[in-house]
C-alpha cells in the first residue's frame, strides 16, 4: 500500500511539473509568434478606421499591452484556482469550449485509437509469423508507405475518393449543414466521423504493426517457443498460449503511447475535414492568438497523454507478474 501511495505521489508531482513546463513553452511560443492579434482578428482596414481609443481598448482585450511575465502569472494564478480563463475568440469560458470540442473529438479519437490498436496488433502478429513471406512483405510495405505519408495528404486523398468521387461520405463537419440540432441523429454523427476516424486509424496502424512485428519475431525465436514446439504444442496453441500473452505486454505500452500520436494527428485531420473538434480549436486558437484557449488546450491534451502513459504503467504492473509480484513483496 505504501508503495502504491509513493508511486502515485511521485507521478502527481511529475505531472504538475510537466504541465507547468508545457504551458510555459506554449506561452513562450505564442509570445514569439509574429502574428499581431489585432491585425489578424480585426483586419487591417477596420483597424485603420478605428479611433485611437478603440484601438487601445482592443489592445487591452487581446492583452498585448500587458508585460508577458504578468500575463503568464495571472493565467497561472487563475488555473491554480480552477479558472481556465475566457476564450477571446469564442467569448466563452475556456473550460466550456474545451468541453464541447472534446465531446465531439472524443469518439473520433477513441474509435481511431481502438481500431488502430487492434488492427496494428493483428497485422504485426501476422507479419511476424510469416517473416520473409508475402504477407509479411505486403504488411511491411503498407506500414512503411503509410508511415512516410503525411496525414493531411492521406486525409485529402480519402476525401477526394469517398466524398467527391463516390459520394458515400459527407465532405466535412460533424453534423449535416442546415439541420436543426434537435433532429440530428446518431447515424448522422457516425457518418460524419467515419472518414476522419479512418484516416487517423490508417496512420496509427503502421507504427503499432511494425513494433509488434519485431516483438513477434523475437518471441518466435525465443527458447520458450522452441521448447513449446519440442513439447508437441500445435502452432495454434503456441500462438494463443504463448505469443499473444508475451506480445500483449509491449502492445499495451505502444497502445497507450499512441494516444499522443492520435491527438497530434487529429489536429491535422480535423482541419482537413473541417471537423469542429479539439484539434481544430487548437489551430484556430493558435492562428488567432487566443492565448487562454491555446494554453487550456495544450494543458488538457498534455494531461491526456500523460494519463495514457500513466495508465500503461499501472496496467503493466497489473499484467506483468514480475512487476506485480515484485511490488507486492516490498
Amino acid at each position: 500500500m505504501k508503495h502504491r501511495l509513493q508511486f502515485a505521489g511521485k507521478k502527481l508531482i511529475r505531472m504538475a511539473l510537466l504541465l507547468l513546463g508545457v504551458s510555459l513553452a506554449a506561452f513562450l511560443l505564442v509570445n514569439a509568434s509574429p502574428l499581431d492579434p489585432l491585425q489578424t482578428n480585426v483586419g487591417q482596414a477596420a483597424l485603420g478606421s478605428m479611433s485611437q481609443e478603440q484601438i487601445e481598448n482592443l489592445k487591452a482585450y487581446w492583452g498585448t499591452d500587458t508585460p508577458p511575465v504578468q500575463r503568464y502569472l495571472s493565467w497561472l494564478g487563475g488555473i491554480l484556482q480552477g479558472d481556465m480563463g475566457t476564450s477571446l475568440l469564442y467569448r466563452q469560458p475556456v473550460a466550456q469550449v474545451i468541453g464541447q470540442r472534446l465531446a465531439s473529438s472524443f469518439w473520433l479519437m477513441a474509435f481511431a485509437w481502438v481500431l488502430s490498436g487492434i488492427l496494428g496488433l493483428l497485422l504485426g502478429m501476422a507479419a511476424g509469423m510469416n517473416r520473409g513471406k508475402w504477407p509479411d512483405k505486403l504488411i511491411r510495405g503498407y506500414c512503411l508507405t503509410i508511415s512516410s505519408t503525411p496525414v493531411f495528404w492521406l486525409a485529402l486523398l480519402l476525401l477526394i475518393i469517398f466524398s467527391v468521387w463516390l459520394g458515400i461520405f459527407p465532405i466535412g463537419l460533424s453534423v449535416p449543414i442546415g439541420m436543426e440540432s434537435g433532429s440530428i441523429t446518431f447515424a448522422d454523427r457516425i457518418q460524419h466521423a467515419v472518414l476522419p476516424a479512418l484516416t487517423l486509424s490508417i496512420t496509427g496502424v503502421a507504427n503499432i504493426a511494425l513494433h509488434t512485428r519485431e516483438k513477434m519475431i523475437d518471441i518466435l525465436d525465443s527458447d520458450y517457443i522452441l521448447f513449446a514446439r519440442a513439447r508437441g504444442e500445435s502452432n495454434r496453441s503456441i500462438l494463443w498460449r504463448h505469443c499473444l500473452r508475451n506480445v500483449a505486454l509491449p502492445a499495451i505500452t505502444l497502445q497507450f503511447a499512441s494516444i499522443s500520436e492520435i491527438i497530434g494527428g487529429s489536429v491535422l485531420v480535423e482541419q482537413v475535414f473541417s471537423y469542429p473538434g479539439l484539434g481544430q480549436a487548437a489551430v484556430t486558437a493558435g492562428l488567432g492568438s487566443d492565448l487562454p484557449l491555446l494554453l487550456g488546450i495544450t494543458v488538457v491534451t498534455a494531461a491526456m497523454v500523460f494519463g495514457g502513459n500513466l495508465a500503461a504503467d499501472l496496467l503493466y504492473g497489473a499484467v506483468d507478474p514480475k512487476i506485480r509480484k515484485g511490488a507486492s513483496r516490498k
Partner: protein
C-alpha cells in the same frame, strides 16, 4: 537389447545467404552415429559448436526452416520422419532443455507442465510429478522468474516426466549448478532410465557424464569420434586422441590442456578433422576419409586406433 533410438550418419546443413543473393550450404554436422538402448543413458560429450544441440533438435524434428538433415534416424526400428517426430514429440520423445529461459516467462509453472489442460487427471499428474521431485503444490502458482536454479531444473525434468516418455533428450541439463546439485539432477535421469526410458544426455562435462551414463559418445566438429562404455574410460580402453585429451584434461587426471581449436563449420579441412591438433598424425590422416569403425566394444574414428597400435 532393443535399441530405442538409432542415429546413422546424420548430417545437418544450413542454407545461408552470403553477400548479394549468393547462397551457400554450411554443413555443421557431418557424420553422427549413435544408438540408445531402452533403460540406458548415453552421454554425448563435446565442446561448444560441436553440434550437440543440433543433434537434439534433429531428433525432435524442430530444426529451423533453413536447415537440411540427411542420414537416418530410427525410433524403435521405424524411420523417424517429420510426421512421426511431430506425432511423438512431447509425449514419447521429450526434451529437457538447459534452463529457465525455456519456460514461458508469463505463464505459471502448473499451466506450463499441464500444457494448458485443466482436467482432473492433468492436475493430479502435475501434482504428483512435482512431488516426485521434491516440489510442493505451491510451485504450480509460481512464475519462472521466481524459481531458483535448482528448482528450475527440477521443473524442467517434471515437464518431461509428466508424460511417461520412452526417449528423453536432455540438452545440457546442469549448467550453473554446483557439483552436488548437478549430481542430484543427474540421478533423476538415472531413475527415469531405470524406469525403462532411453536417455540421451548432452553435455560438455565429461566428468558428470561418466558419473551417470552407461556409454559415452564423443563429438568433435560435427562428427562422432568415439563411442565407449563408461568403464572403458577408467580401464584406459579409449582410443581417439581427442577423447584421451578430454580425459587427461580432467583435474584428477593431470589437468593437461592441448593447443589449437576445433575447426569452424565451413572451414575446408580434408581428412581427419582433429589431425591439426593430433600428436600422432600421419600423412594418411590429412588426406584419407576416416571411417567410424568398431574397436573393442565401441567405435572409433581414427586410423591409428584401427591399427590397434595405441592404447
Amino acid at each position: 537389447m532393443n535399441p530405442i533410438l538409432e542415429v546413422e550418419h546424420l548430417s545437418i546443413s544450413f542454407t545461408q545467404y552470403q553477400t548479394g543473393m549468393r547462397q551457400r550450404e554450411l554443413q555443421v554436422v557431418h557424420d553422427l552415429s549413435l544408438t540408445i538402448e531402452a533403460g540406458s543413458i548415453v552421454a554425448v560429450v563435446g565442446s561448444s559448436g560441436s553440434g550437440k544441440s543440433l543433434l537434439a533438435h534433429g531428433i525432435l524434428g524442430i530444426l529451423p526452416y533453413n536447415a537440411h538433415m540427411a542420414g537416418m534416424i530410427r525410433y524403435q526400428g521405424k524411420p523417424l520422419d517429420p510426421q512421426l517426430a511431430g506425432h511423438l514429440r512431447g509425449t514419447e520423445i521429450v526434451l529437457v532443455p538447459q534452463g529457465v529461459a525455456y519456460l514461458d516467462p508469463l505463464m505459471k509453472i502448473g499451466a506450463q507442465i499441464r500444457k494448458g489442460k485443466k482436467d482432473k487427471t492433468a492436475l493430479t499428474r502435475c501434482r504428483n510429478v512435482l512431488n516426485r521431485y521434491g516440489l510442493g503444490p505451491e510451485t504450480e502458482n509460481l512464475y519462472p522468474f521466481e524459481l531458483s536454479g535448482g528448482m528450475a531444473r527440477r521443473v524442467l525434468i517434471s515437464t518431461a516426466a509428466v508424460e511417461s516418455p520412452k526417449l528423453i533428450v536432455a540438452d545440457e541439463p546442469t549448467p550453473g549448478l554446483d557439483a552436488a546439485a548437478a549430481k542430484r539432477i543427474l540421478t533423476h535421469f538415472r531413475e527415469l532410465a531405470d524406469d525403462g526410458a532411453g536417455v540421451l544426455l548432452i553435455t560438455h562435462d565429461l566428468e558428470l557424464a561418466l558419473s551417470v551414463a552407461d556409454r559415452v559418445t564423443v563429438i568433435y566438429a560435427g562428427e562422432t569420434i568415439e563411442n565407449a562404455a563408461v568403464t572403458d574410460f577408467n580401464n584406459g580402453k579409449i582410443y581417439h586422441p581427442y577423447t584421451k585429451a578430454l580425459w587427461n584434461a580432467l583435474p584428477q587426471n593431470g589437468f593437461v590442456p592441448i593447443s589449437g581449436t576445433q575447426p569452424y563449420p565451413g572451414e575446408i579441412v580434408s581428412g581427419c578433422l582433429f589431425a591439426p591438433r593430433c600428436p600422432d598424425r600421419t600423412k594418411d590422416c590429412q588426406e584419407k576419409n576416416i571411417p567410424y569403425s568398431p574397436v573393442g566394444a565401441g567405435y572409433v574414428r581414427c586410423l591409428n586406433a584401427k591399427k590397434g597400435g595405441i592404447v
